[in-house]
Amino acid sequence: MAIDSELLPAPTPDHLGGGRPPGRVTDRVFRVVAFAGGLLVLVILALIAYSTISKAWPAFRDEGLSYFTSDVWDPVNAGFGTLAFSFGTLVISVIALVVAVPVSIGIALFVTELAPRWMRRPVVTLIDLLAAVPSVVYGLWGLLVLVPALPGFYQDWHDLFAGVPVLGDVFDGNPIAGKAFMTAGLILAIMIVPIITAVTRETFATVPQAQKDAALAMGATRWEMIRAAVFPHARSGMTAAILIGLGRAMGETIAVALVIGSSPQITEKLFSSGDALPAVIVNQFGESTGTYQAALIGMGVVLFFLTLIIGVIARAVLARSERKLSAP
């Protein structure tokens, strides 16, 4: 097979023997089947890009650039500007990262540097359980428990910062019964903590003991050791973790759809209701047809490429840091 010889120039044991023909056939067939399994990844990614772009094309064609730059979303009059949704996705992702990144780094430090050995595995299991809770259950809890509890809390928060420049504006808004950018951001934060923790924990674990010893032997406290030895070594790993967390936050759909309030607007007030790309798709897809549906699929295209780009950068950063750390 052409594929074989191209991909595997090195002789493998099965090329050497004469032996039983049936074994050789099995060998070939198996290799081709396995190859197909691997190839499937690229095929699916290409198909996603092709099929969603072609289905979304009518909307891209009709709206042109204003599909991205206009904030007028008016399906009845064929106005399909998605800016307010992109804005919402950005805002809630940033809130989620601001909350989740410090917490995740803290947990990763706890597991790798602070916790006694017997505690490490149980803690990792607990954090993994956080990842195992389905998105829709976060949404259910957020909608029926968190949202009713929040307006009072937001009010206090607003009063606390009233008059403070910037913060006074940001911690403001008119939340509809607790559904707001902030609510969606907080739920997202809980949901992305496990993935950020997992990636940071892995990079922290690769910090050489010799580096930590060096800092400690200089009379550094544990925190000073973490700053001198752990953080510099894990910088690219942490960057990748944050990017992967960002990708997750942007694509997370169901929980956000339930708590964000579904009223698209561009505002700096985090306690007001908004909307986000995936939430719009979910909430409006059922009633959509024609260009309307194309516009919704188009948001999927935007999400796909955004998360793809973020994912590629994140994995590239991670791969580079692994190479750097494994070098002598």
Partner: protein, 283 residues
């Protein structure tokens, strides 16, 4: 084969400094009494007692696995970070119990610095490596002057003075190790512990570090763990010989066999096991 290197005639000239030092003037830095180290229920080092004198080089030698590194790490409480490790007995530092609850382990490590087996500079510039300890310990004074001083003391200044901003990783192994020594000296310790500091280096780099140790002895107390007997013979004033006992449950326990002047250890050891080890019949 080469063990005839370690004959009295070869050893004596290097150690001539010891003879002049009258026994009574010996200032004791570490007073170690019945020190044992356990990992969980495993006994790693059992019942070690000896004194480390000020401005002397004390070598700890012995076969691998005899707990010499483990023991060395007790002297600046590096074992604190191994959760299961426990130190028993008494280790006094200038007359005070090192493991007293009032003693701050970070301060202990500043005063009792450590150089490791493999050079382990931080992934920072040469300058920042030396300045690190000064910064965290909030040294007053001119940072670059203190860095220069430390690098000069570590006999590295001339080689790096033009590339202080370069990464420490650009240096050779021997230079990196001297950088680590400079980094340790910068915070003005009292004692420098060295854990096989030359085991990753070539002979030329090794001899530079040995020269440096002898030089540093004027101001610092040095305790060095080495598997290289010639090195102990060349540089140290006092030598502690550790060995491994295999217990009934086949766990290995490190024990101090003999502690004496280096010259005595290498010429007329009082224990047969010491003699066996230094003549190469054992270990």
């Amino acid at each position: 084969m080469d063990h005839h290197d370690v004959t009295p005639t070869n050893v004596a000239p290097v150690n001539d400094g010891v003879e002049e030092q009258p026994e009574t003037a010996r200032e004791v830095v570490f007073e170690i009494r019945d020190a044992s180290v356990r990992y969980g229920s495993n006994l790693a080092v059992d019942d070690v007692s000896f004194d480390v004198g000020a401005r002397e080089i004390t070598a700890i030698i012995g076969p691998s696995g005899c707990g010499k590194s483990t023991f060395l790490r007790c002297l600046n409480r590096m074992n604190d970070f191994i959760p299961s490790a426990k130190v028993e007995g008494r280790i006094n530092y200038h007359g005070e119990n090192l493991y007293d609850s009032r003693v701050d382990a970070a301060e202990v490590r500043r005063r009792i610095g450590m150089v490791f087996q493999k050079p382990n500079p931080f992934p920072k510039s040469i300058f920042d490596n030396v300045a690190y300890g000064l910064r965290i310990n909030r040294f007053k004074g001119d940072l670059s002057e203190l860095v220069e001083q430390a690098l000069t003391r570590a006999a590295l200044w001339d080689e790096v003075k033009d590339k202080l901003k370069k990464s420490a990783y650009a240096l050779s192994g021997g230079q990196q190790q001297r950088l680590c020594i400079a980094r340790t000296l910068a915070v003005q310790p009292d004692v420098v512990l060295m854990d096989e500091p030359c085991s990753a280096l070539d002979p030329i780099a090794t001899s530079r570090i040995e020269d440096l140790m002898v030089e540093l002895k004027r101001d610092f107390t040095i305790v060095i763990v080495t598997h290289n007997m010639q090195q102990a013979a060349r540089v140290s004033d006092m030598t502690a010989f550790f060995t491994t006992d295999v217990a009934e449950d086949s766990s290995r326990v490190g024990r101090l066999v003999e502690f004496d002047r280096t010259q005595t250890i290498f010429t007329s050891p009082s224990d047969q096991r010491t003699e066996g080890y230094i003549t190469g019949r054992f270990g």
